[in-house]
Amino acid sequence: MSEGVALYPYLVLGALLFTCGVICMATKRNAIGVLIGVELVLNGSNINFVAFSQYNPDFQVEGMIFALFVIVMAAGEAAVALAIVLNFYNNHSTVDVDSAEELKG
């Protein structure tokens, strides 16, 4: 099963996506950009799941199910998040997260 499949390149790719996503979340000022960062993080973990499931026969089914559920959850999360961003836009006429500064202290 796992012959000829090296695990580490996939894990490195997953880690790379995760890092890109975290940097994206931390630096983007546009709320949509932050959400794209979140999606990158989720996909980084998904690559991990799929790679582990390919590498480890015990984890084969579980890893795939993990990945499927994460895809569904990511879709749900994106829908809710975009609705909230739209609501924010309706009230503030911008999606810049730095303009969310009325609540502090």
Binding site: M25, D58, E77, E102, L103, G105
Partner: protein
């Protein structure tokens, strides 16, 4: 083997569904509420009463599960040695701990729905959406309390979070509410993404997502010093810490509570904290091997060496930060938000002991915290309805307008502070007692460093009770001692009495607090259990810490 498992699953599916009945009822309630919304006949009605009935019935079902616990755990086919039983092929676990949390959550949701009916915060036409979101979030929380697989942990946390994001922004037209929701969703989805990455590392590395297997793997000496595992555990705890609003993952909490309606704040502060604490307790105690049938002293001893200091440090920082930051607040909801952070820290102190009694003390604290925090948020909601303000600078001399409301707020705040004879005192007493006991226990086990850590926790807890005094009493001082605007201008003070039904709601909560403050033995017995093995207690699924081996001390002098 697979065939046997399939047969087993088929046989137990009906029983599993029976043990899952409270959640199934809530799922049914969601469908009913959404369908009723479609019918023109009920389109304009407030569906809160139906939601109340469903939540009440689900709570009743959860209570009957509690009384069926002995037969429920007796039928465990997969692992007959433990006092818990797994549902749905090991995805969820049914033990007295999870059922206790379910009863706690559902009773709380029933009370919150009652509160929203009194304050009328979801408009009549929005009521179905509001209660659907509350129900969805509650299902997620009760799954958090019973999750037995990392996939379920992730799904449960997401199911809890997604409706909460929408609830925070439920007051659609308000700028502050939309800002609160945006902050919550940005931070929350970031935290859950990071947590998922940690889960992917943990599950992939251990080759399974089954929580008992992973906890067994983690408790093997040396595993946690592997960087991948350490990273995975850290990210997983980050996700839970975010739900718990533990410092340094607390930053969303004050903003969300200030922007969201007080009723939503009440729901988030008690329910999501309770569920997160349950999950943390299951993972932390499981790592110490306390959920195994037989506790291995070596495993326990290794695990407490690193887990106790970490939890203790986070608990102390969380409590202290919450209490210090609350002092400067003038918005009541924001002040209460920092107060909930401080209380989360107190409850983490109980978990930091890494004993089953610690978990019991946390459950006791949670029940008391439910009533006092719900009461405080309810008073804020009533004040908002009466005056339109939630800032204490507008509430000078409020006692002259509505004495009853201020007296009730006094009861709730002084209970949060921990003043006897109110229930907050008995809850804090439980926590301090287990911390003190565990300090002595660590000393007996030859771990003086951990014993001293526990004494530091005890001192920090005492100090924080004093710190909390200042801001709780400040609110009461402004409301009672300062002069109203009318008094300054020499006009008659306009009285604003609250409706009788609101007063009755608050009186019931206050009566429970007073009652639990004086007679706390029955609740403590349910939380801790007794020596009698036939009596079900909430922490039955955890084992006691192994006793000291006296043999090695008998060395030749």
């Amino acid at each position: 083997m697979n065939e046997r498992l399939a047969n087993l699953l088929q046989l137990s599916l009906g029983l599993d569904a029976a043990a899952f009945m409270p959640e199934l009822l809530l799922c049914g309630g969601i469908v009913v509420l959404l369908l009723m919304r479609l019918m023109p006949r009920y389109d304009r009605d407030n569906l809160g009463w139906i939601a109340l009935a469903i939540a009440g019935f689900a709570c009743y079902q959860a209570c009957s599960l509690w009384f069926e616990m002995p037969s429920l755990v007796g039928r465990s086919a997969l692992d007959p040695d433990t006092k818990s039983t797994v549902l749905f092929g090991g995805m969820l676990v049914a033990d007295s701990f999870s059922v206790f949390i379910k009863i706690f959550l559902l009773a709380f949701v029933t009370l919150v729905i009652l509160l929203t009916l009194l304050t009328g915060i979801p408009d009549t036409e929005d009521s179905a959406d509001f209660y659907v979101l509350i129900f969805g979030s509650t299902i997620g929380m009760s799954m958090m309390a019973s999750a037995n697989h990392l996939l379920m942990v992730f799904i449960a946390i997401e199911m809890t979070s997604l409706p909460s994001y929408a609830l925070a922004g439920f007051l659609k037209g308000r700028r502050q509410s939309s800002e609160a929701a945006l902050k919550y969703v940005v931070y929350g989805s970031g935290a859950s993404g990071v947590m998922l990455y940690g889960i992917s590392l943990l599950a992939g590395y251990c080759g399974t997502g089954y929580l008992p297997d992973i906890l067994a793997r983690l408790s093997t000496p040396g595993t946690l010093s592997e960087p991948v595992i350490a990273l995975g555990v850290a990210f997983l705890l980050l996700g839970i810490g975010f739900k718990l609003a533990a410092v340094p993952f607390h930053f969303w909490c004050p903003d969300v509570f200030e922007g969201a309606a007080a009723e939503v704040g009440a729901f988030l502060s008690v329910a999501s904290k309770g569920a997160a604490l349950a999950l943390l307790a299951r993972i932390a105690l499981g790592m110490g091997g306390l959920s195994n049938a037989v506790v291995d002293p070596a495993v326990w001893s290794k695990t407490v060496d690193y887990l106790v200091p970490v939890l203790a440090v986070f608990a102390i920082i969380t409590t202290t930060f919450g209490n210090l930051a609350a002092y400067g607040q003038t918005n009541l909801k924001r002040l209460l938000a920092y107060s909930t952070i401080a209380h989360a820290g107190f409850m983490m102190m109980g978990l930091a002991t890494m004993t089953r009694d610690g978990a019991g003390a946390v459950l006791f604290y949670l029940v008391v915290y439910l009533f006092m925090n719900l009461g405080a948020f309810a008073v804020v909601a009533f004040i908002r309805n009466l005056t339109g303000h939630e800032d204490i600078t507008y509430l000078r001399g409020f006692v002259q307008r509505s004495p009853l409301l201020v007296i009730m707020l006094g009861v709730f705040l002084l209970s949060l502070l921990g003043l006897p004879p109110l229930a907050g005192f008995s809850a804090k007493f439980q926590i301090f007692a287990v911390v003190f006991d565990s300090a002595r226990m660590f000393a007996e086990h030859g771990k003086p460093k951990l014993a001293w850590t526990m004494y530091v926790v005890l001192a920090a807890g005492g100090l924080n009770t004093v710190l909390a005094l200042f801001y709780y009493v400040k609110v009461l001082k402004v409301m009672i001692l300062e002069k109203t605007l009318e008094e300054v201008e020499n006009r008659p003070v306009e009285a604003k009495p609250i409706p009788g039904i609101h007063a009755a709601y608050l009186s019931v909560l206050a009566a429970v607090i007073l009652g639990l403050g004086i007679i706390w033995d029955p609740l403590a017995r349910i939380c801790y259990g007794t020596r009698d093995p036939n009596v079900v207690s909430a922490i039955d699924s955890f084992r006691a810490v192994p006793p000291v081996q006296t043999a090695p001390t008998a060395k030749v002098k």
